[in-house]
């Protein structure tokens, strides 16, 4: 029943197997600057799977997310969501399709958790309609799912970082979206809260939700995402499965730090895990100088990378 709304404004219903998002030779720079933040981005984000966008600070991850969500328009190329240009989407229609957990959102005024989660119903209620039974059910279900039902009357400002993030995720789920986009959803969370969020995202993806997240946690991305997109300096350095993307040379090259890649047997199969090296292996490298960096790299050939 949710599929009725998929495909914006008479574009017809998108086929389930078609990608959720496509970027076609996308180039973007902020107005008044001369450097491209993103260039030659050619990717497809598959529907019904979990995709993680990774990359160093400043590699363009959050900008890419803004483009995919239609908040910024590419200077060159095209970003499409469900077949329609992201910028052409009516915001209310898109909010019924995509739930977003933005980074570092800070409300101006005090709100309770219930009030905040209920805002996820705006794309269904618009300006005037009162909450109906379906809305209350969606809100309650989203809160249960994110384990914030017990906090419903608590002011958001009094929540811990983990609780607050779960409340935001609940608001996105209250939108009953077929797609979720998250910008570093587990930043500053302890392992228990971080794992809980990744587990929940995996469960949602297994149930058919398209999940797209930006994250710095390479190891959890390797374990939980079906596909990784590695950005470096505004370009796609690699895209594919964790095994294809997370190789020692590439990670060392992109992040500028010596690492070892070790296999880890997860319930879903064997995935590579990245262990950053310390001590002598990185002494020269940590000065950040490119010449010192190549010297340091030559000292770390003791691992067996494919």
């Amino acid at each position: 029943m949710r599929d009725e709304g998929r495909g914006a404004r008479g574009e017809g219903i998108a086929v389930r197997d078609a990608p959720a998002w496509t970027c076609d030779r996308v180039r973007f720079r902020y107005p008044g600057t001369s450097d491209d933040v993103l260039s030659d981005i050619d990717i497809a984000v598959p529907a019904g799977a979990c995709t993680a966008v990774i990359g160093p600070n400043g590699s363009g991850k959050s900008t890419l997310l803004r483009l995919l969500l239609g908040l910024a328009a590419p200077n060159v190329g095209e970003v499409r969501f469900a077949g329609t240009r992201a910028g052409d989407w009516d915001r209310e229609a898109m909010a019924r399709e995509v739930g977003v957990v933005p980074q570092g959102e800070e409300g101006a005024f005090p709100l309770t958790v219930r009030e905040m989660v209920a805002m996820g119903r705006y794309p269904y209620l618009g300006r005037w309609r009162a909450e109906g039974r379906d809305d209350r059910r969606a809100i309650a279900a989203a809160m249960r799912r994110c384990d914030v039902s017990g906090l419903s009357r608590r002011p958001v400002s009094t929540l811990s970082g983990g609780e607050r993030q779960r409340a935001r995720l609940a608001r996105a789920l209250a939108q009953e979206p077929g797609t979720l986009a998250l910008d570093e959803p587990t930043v500053a969370l302890d392992i228990r809260h971080e794992m809980a969020i990744f587990e929940l995202l995996r469960t949602l993806a297994d149930a058919g939700t398209t999940v797209l997240l930006v994250t710095h946690n390479l190891n959890l991305a390797a374990r939980y995402a079906d596909r990784l997109v590695l950005l470096d300096g505004g370009r796609v350095a690699a895209a594919g499965t964790a095994g294809e993307v997370l190789t020692r040379e590439r990670i060392e090259d992109v992040y500028g730090w010596p690492v070892r890649v070790v296999p880890f047997d997860d319930a879903r199969g064997t995935v590579p895990q990245i262990v950053p090296l310390g001590g002598e292996a990185c002494q020269e490298m940590s000065s950040g100088h490119p010449i010192a960096r190549s010297a340091a790299l030559s000292n770390t050939n003791d691992d067996n990378d494919p």
Binding site: L71, R91, P102, R127
Partner: protein, 329 residues
């Protein structure tokens, strides 16, 4: 469920404030006398006092208070800034230029309506200038640019006022200063009627934006992700809130504090849901300004204290007490 009840009680409080305001003054009147006077019977002096002086003045105070509070609440959500108030986009500066120039140039003699009209024209000029500047920078209406444009254009208008006052004679100087301190003493039926007709659509437009304003308070990106058409909401809300403030300042001069404090009082007592906060702000703003104006004209009889002084003297201690009570929602 409890929301309509609360609003009903606040509406009763507004009526009560108007009744008190009509009762007290140089000639105290009983409620019976007031009812008779409204009906046009009884003592001719009382009829004049009630019908021509106190009632229109109380109603105008209510309208101005409501307009300022709703305008302030709107700006606070749009700018995500608790310090925002109705005059933040330079509206009061523009209005003051219009008013002061009519006084200094001696145009005030043309008719009693010329000063509010000039003030309104000045306020509109300020709004247009600020929005124009903000719209010309970047592709969308940037909140920070808007704030800066408001402050800068307000400062320019202040300089214009000071320049005009430098060349003013002592009598014009005095009346210009008094205008800027804000007063409701000029209220008559005609002006109040025009004001009511003007404000009503503005109130309705802003009330219709209650839910989008809730989203805007979370940030513009989040509002867009939740389905709000951010640009359209910003233009509508900035424009309408400024037009409300422009009308208020045109009829009564610069009355500070109402637009800043009233929305916070509602927030501290009952939370920040704009669907309740906006109508409640209108009603509490009305109550507050009606009572403040009553105090302004009675406390130091026969001298009338500027109503802006009263709003600050009464409002500040009350607000500090409320803050110290320390409710988080």
């Amino acid at each position: 469920m409890r929301t309509p009840l609360r609003l009903g009680l606040l509406a009763l409080a507004a009526l009560g404030a108007v009744a008190v305001s009509v009762r007290v003054g140089a000639v105290p009147l009983g409620f019976g006398e007031i009812m008779e006077a409204i009906a046009g019977r009884g003592d001719a002096g009382a009829v004049t006092i009630v019908r021509d002086l106190r009632l229109p003045r109380a109603l105008q105070a209510a309208l101005v208070g409501a307009a300022l509070a709703v305008s302030g609440a709107t700006f606070q959500a749009l700018l995500r800034n608790p310090l925002a108030e109705p005059f933040i986009l330079g509206v009061s500066g523009g209005a003051a230029v219009g008013a002061v120039f009519t006084v200094v140039l001696g145009w005030a003699l043309i008719g009693p309506w010329i000063m509010p009209l000039a003030a309104f024209a000045g306020a509109i000029l300020a709004i247009v200038l600020v929005l124009q500047v903000a719209a010309s920078v970047g592709r969308s209406l940037d909140t920070h640019v808007l704030l800066l444009a408001g402050v800068v254009i307000g400062a320019f208008f202040n300089a214009c006022i000071l320049l005009a006052l430098t060349f003013a004679d002592i009598e014009s100087f005095r009346s210009a200063i008094f205008w800027m301190m804000g007063s409701l003493s000029g209220a008559g039926w005609q002006g109040t009627g025009v004001l009511a007709l003007y404000l009503l659509p503005g109130f309705l437009i802003i009330l219709g934006l209650a839910r989008p304003l809730n989203l805007m308070a979370l940030g513009e990106d989040t509002a867009a992700y939740l389905g709000a058409s951010v640009e359209r909401i910003k233009w509508t809300a900035y424009g309408t809130a400024s037009l409300l403030a422009a009308a208020a300042v045109a009829v009564s001069g610069v009355i500070g504090f109402v637009g800043l404090i009233v929305p916070h009082v509602i927030r501290l007592l009952w939370g920040s849901d704009y669907r309740f906060l906006l109508p409640a702000s209108a009603l509490v703003g009305a109550v507050f300004l009606v009572l403040a104006d009553t105090l302004a004209r009675t406390a130091a009889r026969p001298t009338e204290i500027p109503v802006g002084v009263v709003t600050a003297f009464v409002g500040v201690p009350f607000f500090l007490w409320l803050l110290r009570r320390g409710r988080t929602v």
